[in-house]
Structure formats: structure tokens, C-alpha cells
Symmetry: C2
DNA sequence: ACAAAGCATTGAACAAGTTCAACAAAATTC
DNA sequence: GAATTTTGTTGAACTTGTTCAATGCTTTGT
């Protein structure tokens, strides 16, 4: 639904209805089945997307074959590999639907067109990039200073959608083994 | 020196000399003595800065009293707490000079003025924020998947300025104890 | 040049997290 | 709805990194 995209944009910047309509017309809606990939490592990411419904994981497979999850994108989040998208180079990341989902996608040329014609849009993306930057910074600090137990609790606390995620996915996000997630849960459910 | 600021900006965007001059006139030069703080946790960060000479650490003191170093900013880097600066709220971060240094500083109102009058500047900061975002993302993945030894080697490898840093500072960046840095060094110098 | 403070190194005991293997419980598939 | 695959749980042995304490080495300030 394009409506939720409009709402999301209006939350970040002030923009006229006309401009908002024009910009949103550049997006194409796409349904993605559970387990389908929007992007695979090695491909060039040719879209920036807004999740109008569903759930995705953005992840990287490390040299040991472990899947490190950078973040989960649920309804109302944006997804892309900025590096690959803006510099048109092969992606280190993959994006997979964890549930049947729907996204609004914009191509690089259409986004560049928007940057040239609607200065507000340049601001929109500056602000959004800043926000994700701030939260990444905070996560970086937390990862450096907190134990796995604390990070697990923080995660559960901060992301209501954790209930839709398996232990293995949570482990991939926290950077620990799934067995250890299991042990943390046990410890918490017992003596707390 | 304002010249190095101009060069740095020209590296990121194409901009007329006139606009570049006008924008750079908004900066004030400031010398900072070794061990002086440009920003202390709890203060609102009222500047964005470009390091024209010297070396800084940007860090956070965690709830155990440990200093987590987010990054080092040497000559040609930008420094600020974006969150505090843009949202005018108390900072979680501190910024300290590790050597006698010189920075070019711009205030929030002057930067907002620039955003309104020079659209190129909005682009400059979008691009810079994107770049730091990409490198933070990569560091996040590395921290999740690599051991301390590997991260130490990566760091030494990637940052030529590591020679100006004590073990304790490197430890603060890698998120490990300074004793362990010492042990890693020993291991590397011996059997490799 | 000296004292004081901070920095680096090392070892021993400990804590946090991994790995492997075995089994139970859900969820998918045909 | 039975069979197959994926997910979760638990224990034992192991690896990685921490903590604390002792010692010597550099800086720094005066």
C-alpha cells in the first residue's frame, strides 16, 4: 500500500501533497513470498525499498559460513544496501523475506531524478540516513560493552517483533550461537 | 587551515568556488591542546567539526566505567555527535584531543543556514553520512563475526595512525581489555 | 634530574561463550 | 496424517577473553 509510504515520509519532512504524490508514483509495488530473496550477495542492489507489510532479514554470510544479521525490517522500515545501491557495486548483503511481504521499490535512476527535482527528498534521505546512523552507533557501543545476556534482554525489550523470530535468527543478530540463546532463555526463565 | 577543509569538500561534491568560499566562511578555527575536551558527555554538541590537524578520540563511558571508543578522528576527518547536534539533546559521547590539534567548527544555525541556501551542502552531508554509515555497518559485521586477534590485525592494517595510539586506546576501540591486547601482541611477535 | 603518575607485560584463577553430539518438539511437505 | 526437515534443549569439554595482582618501563611535570 502506497498510503503507508506516504505517511512514513510525511513523518520525516514537511512536503506538499503534490510533491509527495509525484515522488511516490516513482515506486513500484512488489509482493515477496516467504523465503524469497529481494537481494543476494554479489548482485548489485538496484532498488531502495519501503516495507509496507511483512518482515525481512538483512544479513551477511561471513567467511566461516555464519549468517550475521545486520537488522530485521518489518512494516514501516526501509531496506536497501546503501553501499551497493549508491555506488552500483556488488553487494556484501542479502535480503530475504521471513514472511509473505509487500514492498514499495524505487530504482536508482528514479531516486536520482527525485534528488534533482525535489530538494525535500534529498533532505528526507539525509535525515533517515542520520537516524539509522545514530542507532547503529548505539548498537556498536552496546555490542562492545554488554554481555550476550544483556544484549538479548535489550533486543527482546526493544523489538516487539521478536516473537515472530526463531532463536537462530536472534542468535544471528546478537552474534552468538543459537545454543547459547537457548541457555540464556533457560537461565532467565528459572532463577532469573 | 581552511584550505584542507575546502579540498575535503571538493572531494565529495562538485561545487562552485563562490559557494565553497561562502560555506567555508561559516567555519571558525580552533586550537585544542592535548587532553582537552571538545565535548563532554551530557553537554549538547553545538558544533560539527573538521580536523585540519591532529588526533581525537570519540568515546562513551559505559555503566561499568569503561571507555568505549567509537572512532579516532585524525587529520581530514569530521567529528560531531550527530544525534546531539541535530536534535539538540545531551550527548552520550565525549570528544578528546589526543594530541595538540586544530579543528574548523560550524554551528548548528550556520549549518541550517547552509542547508537552506546551498542545496549542494545538503548533498555533501547526505553523502558523508552515507559513507560513515557504510563503514559502521561493515565494522558491526566484523565485530559480530571476528575474534579479538582478527580485529586487532584489521585495525593495525586499516589505520596507519595506530602507531600514535597506546594499547589502552586500541583496547577501548576493539572492546577488549588492555591486558589482552598485550597478550595478542606477544602471540603475534612470537610464533605468529 | 627526580618524583609521581601512567603505561605495558606477564601469570594464575576465573567467567563467558563455543562446539559437538544426542535427543525432543515443531513445522513443512507430499 | 505420516514422513521429513527444521528448530529447540541440554550437557561436557574446550577456547576465548577477563580480572587481579605484581613488576618494570616510560612519560610528564616541576
Amino acid at each position: 500500500m502506497i498510503e503507508s509510504l506516504k505517511e512514513n515520509i510525511a513523518k520525516h519532512i514537511s512536503i506538499s501533497n503534490k510533491e509527495l504524490d509525484d515522488f511516490c508514483r516513482l515506486f513500484k509495488i512488489r509482493s515477496v513470498k516467504k523465503k524469497d530473496h529481494l537481494l543476494r550477495e554479489g548482485e548489485v542492489c538496484n532498488f531502495e525499498g519501503f516495507v509496507s507489510n511483512g518482515l525481512f532479514r538483512i544479513y551477511h554470510v561471513d567467511y566461516n559460513g555464519f549468517e550475521q544479521i545486520l537488522y530485521f525490517a518489518t512494516t514501516d522500515w526501509w531496506i536497501t544496501d546503501i553501499d551497493s545501491f549508491t555506488n552500483e557495486k556488488p553487494s556484501m548483503l542479502s535480503i530475504e523475506a521471513l514472511e509473505d511481504s509487500e514492498v514499495c521499490l524505487i530504482s536508482k535512476s528514479d531516486k536520482d531524478f527525485a534528488y534533482e527535482h525535489y530538494p525535500k527528498i534529498e533532505r528526507l534521505f539525509r535525515i533517515m540516513t542520520q537516524k539509522t546512523h545514530v542507532s547503529l552507533q548505539r548498537r556498536m557501543i552496546d555490542n562492545l560493552s554488554k554481555t550476550a545476556d544483556e544484549r538479548y534482554l535489550d533486543f527482546i525489550d526493544k523489538y516487539p517483533h521478536h516473537k515472530r523470530l526463531s532463536n537462530r535468527l536472534i542468535a544471528g543478530y546478537l552474534g552468538i550461537s543459537h545454543e547459547f540463546v537457548s541457555k540464556i532463555r533457560k537461565k532467565l526463565s528459572q532463577g532469573k
